[in-house]
Amino acid sequence: MLKVIAGGYVEPGSTQVTKTGAWRTFVPVVDQKRCSKCSLCEIYCPEGCIRMVEGLFIPDLDYCKGCSICAHECPRKAITMVLEEK
């Protein structure tokens, strides 16, 4: 748990503790069969949170804001945005 110190002084790398994906409404779901591994989703993601993990493009849902840019850019329409129920 992140301790609060006056002035907000924290150890470097605080975003590893502070997850920023909480305000997402839609979540990207990758159809791995359609994916051609072109990596455009990785290049366009403004948060840098979709990248290849063991040969597959997997979004990092701790930080994904659900902006849909990856789905919009995917030339093979392999990514769909699905309403996330919490």
Binding site: L2, V4, A6, G7, G8, Y9, V10, E11, P12, G13, S14, T15, T18, T20, A22
Partner: protein, 391 residues
């Protein structure tokens, strides 16, 4: 050493005695002479500080965010539209708990364009998390400068301080002042040694993102520090008295309050005139006292309740207006009484806007209205010297 100097020079002299490492400011009337004098002192090698010249007030205070994060004692000064241009940075400085001291040479906010004195600028910035101290005269503004650093840099406080002095009335007046002795200031104000600084050898993150799970706690800590400052302001004023022999009251000061039927509450340089007006009123058998607010933030609720508990009515005279409501000090004072069950009538007067003089006659009028208000106020809030004939 007693000398007749311009108010702005006296402030520059006081700042010099505090040994700031970094000064950054942008010239704006009526603050210009303060930073002009400091710039000269740096250029002449009299003051071993770095003077960062910038393109705006926004940049001036932003530069100090950097220097303060490095552990440098940092100073700025501004007024009016310059303070308004700093608005975003004011919150950054207080939220990051940077003990920057800034002299505000109080001036009206445009439009209409006006360069003269009132206190709309700093009163309008009352919620920014800065401590705000108001000076009655040049000597007090000068003496508040090392006190402000001592308060700001206290590890329990770590909150920026504005030393507010009325523009022109205090910044441009020539009056005799007792200069601060550099060695004595050194003894009074220990060197600034913050626990955490920006240092590549010991990396930290300053100004990290705070999500809804922590933001409330950061604000709470600021509120807590302001509450602690209530006690420290008093203590530091007394310590200053021990070293320098001068004392102006702690959070508040009073004049002729013993046996008073009504009271005037105010801040800033108008206090001198009010004291004279009250002397004349007492000679006429009208017992009106004065409560001077030295610390506007933190707001000295308890001290005000205690000092005003025996009067039958209160008038607030202030040089600002919360357009659409009353004025800052008036509403704050009313709020301080609401839950105590005290039903003392409080009337608010806005006066001295845009540099209009507040005369003995004006103050006596407010005093008379205060005395009459004991039977129930005629109006809750009014412009004291409104020229109806030009409307």
């Amino acid at each position: 050493m007693r000398k007749v100097v311009e108010g702005s020079y006296a402030i520059a002299q006081a700042v010099k005695c505090c040994d700031p490492d970094i000064i950054s400011a942008y010239p704006i009337t009526p603050q210009t002479h303060i930073v002009e004098n400091l710039s000269q002192m740096v250029a002449d090698g009299e003051l071993k500080a770095e003077f960062i010249t910038v393109d705006s007030e926004f940049s001036a205070l932003s530069a100090l965010v950097g220097s303060s994060a490095m552990g440098a004692r940092s100073y700025s000064s501004t007024t009016s539209q310059g303070l308004a241009l700093m608005y975003e940075v004011l919150y950054n400085v207080s939220g990051l708990r940077m003990p920057i001291v800034m002299t505000v040479a109080n001036r009206a906010m445009g439009a209409p364009l006006n360069i003269w004195n009132d206190q709309q600028d700093s009163i309008g910035a009352r919620d920014c998390g800065w401590i705000q101290l108001y000076a009655e005269n040049v000597q007090e503004a000068m003496d508040l400068t090392p006190q402000a650093y001592k308060l700001a840099e206290d590890p329990d406080i770590l909150t920026p301080v504005m030393v507010c002095m009325d523009g022109f009335i205090l910044t441009h007046v020539y009056e005799p002042v007792e200069f601060l002795d550099h060695d004595k200031v050194k003894q009074f104000l220990p060197p600034f040694k913050p626990k955490i600084t920006l240092d590549p050898a010991h990396p930290v993150t300053i100004g990290a993102f705070a999500d809804p799970s922590t933001f409330t706690e950061y604000r709470y800590l600021q509120q807590d520090a302001q509450n602690k400052a209530l006690g420290k302001i008093d203590t530091i004023a007394k310590e200053f008295k021990e070293t320098f022999g001068r004392y102006y009251g702690g959070l508040i000061d009073t004049y002729r309050m013993e046996g008073a039927d009504a009271a005037i509450v105010t801040l800033g340089s108008v206090i001198g005139t009010i004291k004279d007006a009250l002397d004349e009123m007492w000679a006429e058998g009208k017992k009106v006292g004065l409560v001077k607010v030295r610390s506007y933030r933190p707001f000295p609720v308890k001290a005000l309740r205690d000092s005003l508990k025996d009067v039958s009515s209160i008038a607030v005279i202030e040089k600002d207006v919360s357009i659409g409501n009353e004025a800052g000090l008036t509403t704050d004072l009313k709020a301080a009484f609401y839950n105590t069950g005290m039903k003392t009538p409080i009337i608010g007067f806005t006066a001295g806007l845009g540099g209009r003089d507040i005369t003995l006659k004006d103050i006596k009028k407010a005093g008379d209205k205060a005395l009459a208000a004991a039977k129930g106020p005629e109006a809750e809030f009014e412009f004291l010297t409104l020229r109806k004939e030009i409307l």
